[in-house]
Amino acid sequence: MTFHVGADMHISPIALFDNGLPLQILPGLDQKSALGNLMSVLMYGSFIFFIFFGQKFQVRIMLLEIDGTVKKLEFMKNDAKNLLFKTIKEVGKPTIDPTTTLNRLLEQFLISPVDMDPAGIVYKFDHLLDVRDTKFKDEVKSISPAADDSQVNNLENLVEGALSLNTIFRIVRHFYLLGKRTSSFYIILQLQMILPLVMQEADALVGACKAFSQGQPIGDGIGPLVVSRLMKDKEKRKVEKDMVVAETLIEGRKVFLTKAEGPGGNVGKPGDAIRRIVEEQEGKVSMIIMLDAALKFEGEESGQIGEGIGAAIGGIGTERFKIEEEAHKFKIPVYAMIVKQSIQEAILPMKKSISDAVDPTLARIKSLILEQSKEGDVVIVAGIGNTMGVAQ
């Protein structure tokens, strides 16, 4: 058997290694020259190398890339931790060294309730979240004696941001080391595939920590921001945990406005607040409008407003459950209004395109109230989200 390379070249497979560069891939190059021989050895050597060690080589390259990312994540985590220490020292003026407490907080975890028998799990979860929230606030308060309530809330948010970065770093490092130790191509491949998304989130968390340390409104605060416009100069009262309620009249409709208590970073418990208002009105509520930030699809503009049906609220789902339960009990229609943004924008300082959505959203809320209710009706408008940097 011979290979017919050119009109005048007939090379037998056996002669491949004898004649230096058998296939004349580089015109004009002397096959017997040093470069020709070198090219030949390199070609065949790399061919054999990739047959036997190709995957291992690929794994090494991927590990190298992941190693760089893990180092970057470690830097980000330390950066957030340093910012946390600095802010606690500046704002809280601790009388004792906060290092131990903060290190303990950054390693906190939550064990979900057993879901083998799911009946009643929502309230179990709600209870655990309350305990966690109280513990975090108490710990932060204990190391920040000079901080007021708003500042304690902001510091608690900052702790949460640093904790999230710490958790991301620990998880990524875990799979990196596991993949390295076992040389498992599939563990490393999966980690490498999700790393760009993980890094996007980590980058956003670094930005969020900066915003939390200064108490700047974040994208998620668009709901409370819109409601705060309607609440301004109205009499407010506190209901439930960290929630405020005000009343206003819109075209003859009695409108209850509710949001988390600001300007400290806080999401409150909108489910409990809405339940309280509905109970106060003995279920005679003609509609509930929920306003929240929501995730946009790639290609959509940030700050676009969307309308829908249902309880617009994120989180684990305990608050949504309470609202849905109350709405179902009294047959109250629930309308959702969302301001679209990316997951990064939701935790970064509020962008102009999002804050510009306040006036159009107010107009949409008013027109929805006019369309779906009549004079004398009672309406609830709830601004959902983190109210950092937004008072009432």
Partner: protein, 141 residues
């Protein structure tokens, strides 16, 4: 003198340009070797010039990408203060302690009360970041 991202960008561009220029010179020499019939040196030169050009272009593009990413991550946060009475508006840099609905004193125009209405992050300019990945510094308001 503090080194700004712009200084680093110029340094990288200069280095890339030098490598690129040298690669062109090597390529030119390689063509000379080819004309003389020295194919071995021609291939050496061709290979070296190719590697040099690819590396210089890659380094330039990589640095540009990084600068754009850095620029995007630096957000300038602004506070809008409005007088409720006359509508006089001030946009200034965010200061710690600013929050929406906070009273910030009397209006310079009409003596009415001024409130913070929005706090927002200025968005990076749309439509590219210039050749070096840097847009012009935002002007103070």
């Amino acid at each position: 003198m503090s080194r700004t991202p712009r200084t680093y960008a110029y340094m990288v561009v200069l280095f890339s340009a030098l490598v690129f220029a040298y690669s062109l010179y090597v390529l030119y020499s390689a063509v000379g070797y080819y004309e003389k019939g020295d194919t071995m040196n021609f291939y050496y030169g061709l290979f070296a010039a190719g590697v040099g050009m690819v590396l210089s272009i890659s380094s330039f593009l990589h640095m540009r990408k990084r600068l754009v990413a850095i620029q995007r991550s630096i957000l300038r946060v602004l506070t809008t203060v409005i007088c409720e009475k006359c509508g006089f508006k001030i946009v200034r840099n965010f200061g710690v302690g600013d929050y929406v609905n906070r009273q910030v004193g009397k209006c310079q125009q009409c003596d009415g009360m001024m409130y913070i209405t929005t706090v927002y992050a200025e968005e990076p300019p749309k439509g590219g970041h210039g050749l070096f990945g840097l847009s012009k510094s935002p002007s103070s308001t």
